[in-house]
């Protein structure tokens, strides 16, 4: 587990753990306010229905009910809908179709679970009872669930104003160059791929407590958000038209997010508005079934992908055509996920010179789809790595060999890909070599034979992935359609006693920022780890922030803190020079101590801090008192974590059950601040990636649009006995363009692992004639694939 030292590079045990382990964590549902009321949302039971009328009279009269609101009430108050944060342009040059996304349905319900009305009552039970009394007169309409089908003519329209349900078609890369490569190809590998729809399932359901104080004309919203500042900005500027400085958003402890808690949702916006209406605080906590129905889902791509190879097995071209399901409405980052975060990663770790991608984004009568751990990059990795592995089989090359022939060599960095990104650094061969060693690939054939004797089929699968993290240079993001900046803010406050409070705009909901950020500060300022407190998640305490997602906290948020510390050290140096009566240039700084070069005259950081607040012997004419600095950091490039995953499976051909017997992940995360936390992030990501490959998949009934996997009875969450003990390691090349040299580690596991798992199964079942398999590879699906293959062989 590594040494628990508190400096950078030490596996410091986490500061936040004690409260979590003793039941003292403070999650949104744990917060209660005086006079609090409870909300229950009335949700559409239909995937597509016209709402003729809503009769709320019975509900209003029910015991304990304070108010019932519908979309009409919001419209009467001029309340807008939820905005989309990223504008993509269609190939025609027109902006994407952006139909309204009302908080409560206006005239139509567009997916099962869509918000139709809200009931507010004295107790949870009363709110729920009364919600059943809201009488909605629906005309059921036909629904369309599959993105491919939704594009066909004559299908039901999700939004009347969006023909063919097409939000946009978008392209990246040089299609002429790609076509030319295919014309001269020695071999073409092609695949039809489905990236299965996932439901994020952070274990803490979404929740909100909203209140309004008339005396101060001020709103407070406690909510399960990954980025409270963004929630405040969007709620005040775009949804509710409130003055931003009169709104405080607090994300206290949050029980996991994985993307699903980035976005402002209808519930907390409606609650904030309604809290003023009724003059009382209102609480809402999702039941798990509501999470299944209305949290933003992830993935859901259908792709046709082709790879052109020359006689040596070199990749000379790639063409990808993807249909991405957006669900019924555009969620905050929905439009960016299948474009900017997807197609730009299609070069993978390879020198493929010509790539062309075409993405059609489609509305369907399903819950909105948005970023889920990895967001676009798992979908890209799945396309690239499935193609590469299949090409290896087609060309008779080993999985390692075809990859090595195509890796971007270490001396080619910085490397400009044909799909917009510029990779700064990496060593792909190093992670692959280490992964093969750790996975004992050399011993695999022996293990395969041994398994065969037990009637089991063993297989091995590879995935060498790359991702782009640390979103993002704001100007580049802006040029690509982002409607917000993507920097981060940090503030470092030294107190007179030498203790430190750090304020960050990055939110922590499991990532351990309170520990990692304190390590960085302790390391740079030479202040004991226990004397550093990290504050996050409160718009009244941290200046600003863009929040936590896309593995950006350390690379962007951590860098902002480093910048603030640089200012602290600069100022302290000047104070120290004055106090030590030396020239500023003669002051050396190391590990919390300012020393006059070549002497034993020195001051500690704490002494300097004291003097900054008690400025008796202080350069007051040049410097302000106090020692409190803040900084904004805007990254100059993405960071590019990369790595090699190797999966070994054993398949029971009689039942179709797949067991993962070994899983190896060797990643390049750049510099590592806390190896223990990084390893934990990898484990968690792997569990979600393996979950996608083997277990998880949202299923809507194709006709009725009902969510069949709407509880844990049908949606398979990875449990302890579904997973192996992981073998993980890192081979790091420091990032070249941020002050910490870090790249980010939060999503790698979920990005790299799915193709490795699927290819391991295909490899295992090759003797039975199986050549392809869809995710999730459930026992039923694997068994069916074996039956089909055997049927083909007989035929």
């Amino acid at each position: 587990m590594g040494e628990p030292t508190t400096k950078i590079g030490g596996s410091t045990r986490r500061s936040e753990d004690k409260r979590f382990l003793t039941g003292q964590g403070r999650y949104t549902d744990d917060i209660n306010m005086a006079g609090q009321t409870y909300a229950c949302f009335v949700r559409s039971p239909h995937a597509h229905a016209r709402i003729n009328s809503i009769d709320t009279s019975m509900a209003r009269d029910a015991d304990g009910v304070l108010a019932v609101f519908t979309g009409e009430d919001l419209a009467n108050d001029g309340i807008g809908g939820l905005p989309c944060g990223w504008q993509i342009h269609d190939v025609s040059g027109e902006p994407m179709a952006e139909p309204p996304h009302p908080l409560l349905a206006q005239g139509k319900a567009r997916y099962v679970g869509d918000h139709v009305a809200v009931v507010i009552a004295e107790t949870k039970q009363q709110a729920r009872d009364a919600a059943e009394l809201v009488d909605v007169d629906y005309d059921m309409l036909d629904a369309v669930i599959s993105p491919a089908k939704a594009l066909e003519s004559g299908q039901p329209l999700v939004h009347d104003e969006v023909p063919d349900n097409r939000c946009y078609t978008w392209e990246l890369g040089d299609s002429g160059a790609a076509d030319e490569a295919f014309e001269r190809a020695h071999h073409v590998t092609s695949l039809d791929l489905v990236n299965n729809r996932l439901i994020p399932n952070a274990l803490e359901p979404r929740a909100a407590v909203a209140s309004y104080s008339p005396g101060e004309d001020h709103y407070t919203l406690y909510t399960t958000s990954q980025n409270p500042h963004l929630a405040r900005l969007l709620l005040s500027a775009f949804v509710l038209n409130l003055p931003e400085h009169k709104v405080r958003v607090v994300s206290p402890d949050v029980g996991g997010g994985f993307g699903s808690k980035i976005y402002p949702y209808a519930e907390e916006a409606t609650l904030t508005w309604a809290s003023k209406k009724i003059g009382r605080p209102i609480k809402w906590t999702a039941e798990r079934v509501e999470s299944f129905l209305s949290d933003a889902h992830g993935r859901d791509h259908v792709t046709r992908a082709e790879m052109a190879l020359d006689t040596d097995g070199r990749f000379i071209g790639m063409r990808v055509d993807t249909k991405a399901n957006l669900g019924a409405y555009l969620s905050t980052f929905a439009s960016a996920v299948p474009t900017i975060l997807y197609a730009t990663l299609l070069a993978g770790q390879y020198t493929t010179p010509a790539i062309h991608a075409r993405v059609t984004a489609v509305f369907t009568h399903t819950a909105p789809v948005d970023a889920y751990r990895g967001a676009g990059r798992p979908e890209a990795t799945y396309v690239v790595e499935r193609l590469v592995s299949q090409a290896a089989r087609d060309m008779g090359l080993s999985q390692a060999e075809i990859r090595r022939r195509n890796f971007i060599p270490t001396d080619a960095f910085p490397y400009q890909t044909p799909v917009a990104l510029n990779y700064d650094v990496g060593d792909y061969d190093a992670t692959l070599t280490r992964a093969e060693e750790l996975a004992d690939v050399a011993g695999f054939e022996g293990r395969r034979e041994e398994a065969q004797k037990r009637g089991k089929y063993r297989g091995i699968g590879y995935s060498t992935y790359i991702e782009a993290c640390g979103l993002a240079p704001s100007n580049i993001a802006g040029a690509l359609g982002a409607r917000a900046g993507l920097y981060e803010a940090g503030e470092v406050r030294l107190h007179p006693t030498g203790k430190v409070t750090v304020f960050t705009g990055s939110h922590s909901h499991g990532q351990g920022h309170e520990t990692t950020f304190a390590q960085i500060v302790s390391d740079r300022l030479g202040i004991p780890f226990d004397d550093v407190d990290v504050v996050h998640g409160d718009t009244d305490r941290s200046a600003f922030g863009m929040g936590t997602y896309g593995s950006r906290s350390l690379a962007v948020g951590g860098s902002a803190i480093v910048k603030a510390m640089d200012k602290i050290i600069d100022k302290s140096r000047r104070i120290a020079a004055h106090m030590l009566e030396a020239a500023e240039a003669d002051i050396e700084y190391d590990d919390g101590t300012f020393r006059v070069a070549g002497t034993d005259k020195s001051l500690s950081m704490a002494e300097v801090a004291f003097s900054a607040y008690v400025p008796h012997n202080y350069p007051l004419e040049q410097l302000e008192p106090g020692l409190d600095e803040s900084a904004f950091y805007d990254p100059t490039n993405f960071t590019y974590p990369a790595g090699s995953h190797i999966c070994e499976v054993e398949v029971d051909p009689d039942t179709g059950r797949v067991e993962i017997v070994n899983f190896t992940a060797v990643d390049d995360f750049g510099n590592v601040i806390n190896p223990m936390i990084v390893e934990g992030q990898v484990h968690g990501g792997l569990a979600q990636g393996i979950g996608q490959a083997l277990l998880e998949g949202a299923v809507y009934d194709a006709e009725s649009g009902q969510l069949i996997t709407g509880t844990y009875m049908d949606y398979t969450m990875p449990r302890a006995d579904d997973l192996p003990s992981f073998r993980v390691d890192t081979c790091n090349t420091p990032c070249t363009h941020n002050p910490l040299g870090v790249k980010g580690c939060g999503e790698a596991g979920a990005i790299g692992s799915p193709p490795a798992v699927i290819d391991a199964i295909i490899d295992a079942l090759r003797p039975l004639g199986v050549t392809d398999l869809e995710m999730p590879a459930t026992p039923l699906r694997v068994w069916q694939a074996i039956q089909d293959a055997q049927g083909r062989q007989v035929a």
């Binding site: 382990l21 744990d30 803490e204 996991g256 934990g680 509880t711």
Partner: protein, 159 residues
């Protein structure tokens, strides 16, 4: 109706509606918010507490059913001297938690697991964690924590 039970060593009596779940009783009536609720169907295990010494899901028991019982929640697991219970300490040491939401239930389940299956193998541990979902950790460090917590509990001789 009235219910009485011992919670973390303290006798409590309260007037509740019959449909009150033990989770609601603990969280809303007693303010013991360490017991979490992660689902509606009894699968996730975030609500695990000890009822008469055995791990149970408090979301799947009525407060009324716990009449006269001895309830221990995550808040009452440690001895009260400020030290963590060996299982809590092991979860911290082995990094067996991230967001902390599953953690109280996970720790309570782990303690009963060790009591029921001393010296359990990794396989037994993983199989018997079926009732506790963790979305963050991938379980690897939870399994490690459980083993090291078991050793700690053995050292202390406290089951």
């Amino acid at each position: 109706m009235n219910v009485s039970m011992t919670v973390n060593g303290r006798s409590v009596t309260a007037d509740v509606d019959p449909p009150t779940l033990l989770t609601e009783f603990l969280r809303d009536h007693l303010g013991l918010t360490g017991t979490h609720v992660g689902c509606d169907t009894g699968q996730c295990g975030s609500c695990t507490i000890h009822l008469d010494g055995r791990a149970v899901k408090a979301c799947s028991v009525l407060a009324a059913q716990a009449e006269g019982a001895r309830v221990v929640t995550i808040e009452g697991l440690a001895d009260g001297n400020g030290d963590l219970h060996p299982m809590q300490a092991a979860f911290r040491e082995e990094h067996g938690l991230q967001c902390g939401f599953c953690t109280p239930g996970m720790v309570m389940a782990a303690v009963d697991l060790v009591n029921t299956y001393p010296n359990a193998s990794d396989t037994t541990i993983r199989e018997n964690l079926e009732g506790n979902i963790c979305r963050c950790t991938g379980y690897e460090n939870i399994v490690r924590a459980l083993k090291s917590g078991a050793a700690g509990m053995g050292d202390q001789g406290n089951g």
